[in-house]
């Protein structure tokens, strides 16, 4: 069902935890749907120097969080905002069709954290104009 990569990131997730004095925090999902993803960002000079996550969700939600945090760590805000759920899924060697929305969740959690950063610092980030963190990525 899941690729080895997914299982690896599920069993040994990277970047689990919280950042006490995070510069941006984003949470998406809904416990009613069985998933919540929370991302903490530490940003210095436009670069994501640290990132942590906490996720309540299925295996692919956890793996997606882990992979997504890996993909943006050390990257610039501009690069991070461009991270798509497809890129996350591809980096995991694919996800089953019914599980694609878990990667959407990861993309959104990062965007939500970036939006939080932007608001706190009164800056605008290109690519976040249309982003609504309360939109439900689940089709179910």
């Amino acid at each position: 069902m899941y690729s080895e990569k997914v299982m690896d990131h599920f069993m040994n997730p990277r970047n689990v935890g919280e950042i006490e004095d995070a510069d941006g925090v984003g949470q998406v999902g809904n416990p009613k749907c069985g998933d919540i993803m929370k991302i903490y960002l530490k940003i210095e000079d436009g670069i994501i120097v640290d990132v942590k996550f906490k996720t309540f969700g299925c295996g692919s939600a956890i793996a997606s969080s882990s992979m997504a945090t890996e993909l943006i760590k050390g990257k610039s805000i501009e690069e991070a905002v461009k991270l798509t759920n497809k890129a996350v899924a591809e980096a995991l060697d694919g996800l089953p069709p019914v599980k694609m929305h878990c990667s959407v969740l990861a993309e959104q959690a990062i965007k939500a954290a970036l939006l939080d950063y932007a608001k706190k610092n009164n800056v605008t980030i290109e690519g976040l104009e249309d982003f609504n963190p309360d939109e439900d990525p689940h089709e179910h």
């Binding site: 299982m7 689990v16 996720t55 309540f56």
Partner: protein, 387 residues
Amino acid sequence: MERYVYMDYAATTPVKKEVLEEMMPYFTEKYGNPSSIYRIGRESRAAIDEARERVAKIIEAKPKEIYFTSGGSESDNWAIKGVAFANRDKGNHIITSKIEHHAVLHACEYLEKHGFEVTYLDVDEYGIVDLEQLKNAITDKTILITIMFANNEIGTIQPIQEIGKIAREKGVYFHTDAVQAIGNVEIDVNKLNIDLLSMSAHKFYGPKGVGVLYIREGVKIHPYIHGGAQEKNRRAGTENVAGIVGLAKALELAYENLEEHNKKLVYLRDKLIKEVTNKIDYVRVNGHPEKRLPGNVNFSIEFVEGEALLLSLDMMGIAASSGSACTSGSLDPSHVLLAIGLPHEIAHGSLRFTLGDFNTEEDVDYVVESLVKIVERLREMSPLYEN
């Protein structure tokens, strides 16, 4: 991880050695079509007739009231749609419960699209149907009550005798989906006033793809699979002789030492419940404390999600399920857990262990030990859990 612990006997069971042995000749030497007149055909016919008698004896039915099908889902579909269409002139109302298996619920929904009305009875927090609501729901248009014997997810056993009595008094047919109960509970269709009953062999150590519909003599029902004259013209299709023989043998074995089997399962079940609830906080046990299947354990583990639990267990070599195995393609939380009043977020953390004949006390110890670690790990990742 060398160890493999299967604790999903409600999803399916392995075929027992003795069962497979009885089946084997019917694949190769005794392959005759039971409708054929010559020797190997008559031998197949005799094997089926004998199987029919063996099954009938166990539920106190007559052999001619036993019809072989392709499994529990076909039996449920046949019972419900077959009775509905055959009794359309009498009425168009059917009563069921909110916690039935999808084979029953979706058959009922299909009938709703074809002019039938269906009442879905509520259940209490333990999953037991409301008998008063049942009585009140019956009208002169009611033609069928279909309530499962025992629930596949939470293991709750319904007050079947009372339901049968109500149905009989009102002259309404009573079908019960006994797919989970059979092999675990004594069933006498006469004492319990059951008119139709579904079973599926692979739930009691028989093969997959064969089942039974018991139809009380005199019940008005249409055939569901039309064609040849098999099963007294009521269920067409060349009979799955090996499967039918296997079903009968498996059923016999299940009832051979039912008491002992159940004693062992109840002991393991209660041990698993006790230890998990002792060692892990924020755990809820779903279903009825006593009126439950001997092998069924259903937990809700807060702040973690069911699939993540299952995957982690699988990595430790433990097979369990979350909600019904039949619907794991779906992302919605189980309709059964919602019906007993669990909030969505707690329903998502549900975990079912169903014990069976090959489980040992060591299995239970291993599961407890593993689960403690897994829950700890997942909760550490969970934004909902504060320790």
